[in-house]
Amino acid sequence: MTSARIFIAAAILFTACPHLPAQWLNYPTAGVPKTPGGAPNLKAPAPRTPDGKPDFSGIWEAEKNQPCPPDGCPDGPTGKEFFDIGWSIKGGLPYQPWARDLMKERMAQNRKDNPNARCLPLGVVGTHTFPLFRKIVQIPGLIVILNERDAMYRQIFTDGRSLPDDPQPSFNGYSTGKWDGNTLVVQTNGFRDGIWLDANGDPLTEAGKITERFRRVDYGRMEVQVTVDDPKAYTAPWTVKLNQNIVLNTELLDFFCLENEKDVAHLVGK
């Protein structure tokens, strides 16, 4: 299922609705390359900024590659990585024993202690897989990722600064980016303990460092190759690829997790 198909379906629905929404739900995205038939050409080359670098600007969502049975997927359509960040790695993640035990216990408890359920930030990796939208704004020296979830921001500095030496631990860490040809290589340190990399509860510790290689494959797709180097939780660095699809003709909407949170009181473990 592509984003374009979602929004074609949504457009049909909206056309059929007697009351069109008043928000910018179907506001046309500017500058979309078109096929001869007038449809968005998602295979068109990636756009570029005036300095010739690939332009990641736009609204993106995680690829929903989790197969769903006819009756639906638990927790709705998502990517496999949302639940298991290491599903594509042969033999699984290279856990330290305590980290494997912790993940298994979190799963045995129906994932009820996921910080996500308590409306805490998802962190860098969890944000790439969460099934709400993100908007990338790219300007000289800085890339900002605006998250629909809790209106959260992430900054990636491309102005040549170094990573902080003794960073105050945080959910998103501190990110700097450099270009390697058409790939933006982002280094991040300064994470806090307690971050879940996925819904299964794979841990990230304060010792963790993350490298992301952003590549806009074409107009419609972006790949983020993520390498997690966290010797406290894993015996070796490991790498996964997180695919993202462009989302057209809409805008970000409010999503404040604590607005009317009433689920935590009903979550049941084993």
Partner: protein
């Protein structure tokens, strides 16, 4: 309360809104039992059009005539709106039939899957156990 099996409701004719993905705010299995189904008919007493999940409340008369108050969770506002809902789609006073999954903790709470309005229109509630637009 009358429990019925869930088989053809979601694919029934007249489903006016496409199925909607959930927000994945929390684990479905930690809160709801996907092996059980409830179908309840009643009057909407309140709609909470808020995140992380829209909710509505239903006064339901059981077989003995006693009134029970039920709470239903739907998807996030974001996914509901993108699926065609507005804040006025469901209103206080509406009579509806709701099919969904009950809470594991035994409270009168369920995850709303399909909501049938009194005029026969069926709405997808953006259930956490939802299907995607295929």
């Amino acid at each position: 309360m009358k429990a019925v099996s869930f088989s053809s409701v979601a694919v029934g004719l007249g489903l006016i809104l496409a199925a909607i993905p959930a927000s994945a705010h929390h684990s479905f299995f930690a809160e709801f039992d996907s092996n059980k189904h409830v179908t309840l008919t009643g009057t909407v007493t309140k709609v909470e059009w808020e995140n992380p999940h829209a909710r509505f409340y239903l006064d339901v008369k059981d077989e003995s005539g006693a009134m029970a108050h039920w709470e239903f969770q739907m998807g996030s506002i974001n996914v509901l709106v993108r699926g065609g809902w507005t804040r006025n789609t469901l209103k206080t006073g509406d009579t509806v039939t709701v099919n969904g999954y009950p809470a594991k903790d035994g409270s009168r709470l369920a995850n709303a899957r399909v909501i049938t309005l009194s005029d026969g229109r069926k709405l997808t509630g953006g259930s956490s156990f939802g299907t995607s637009i295929q």
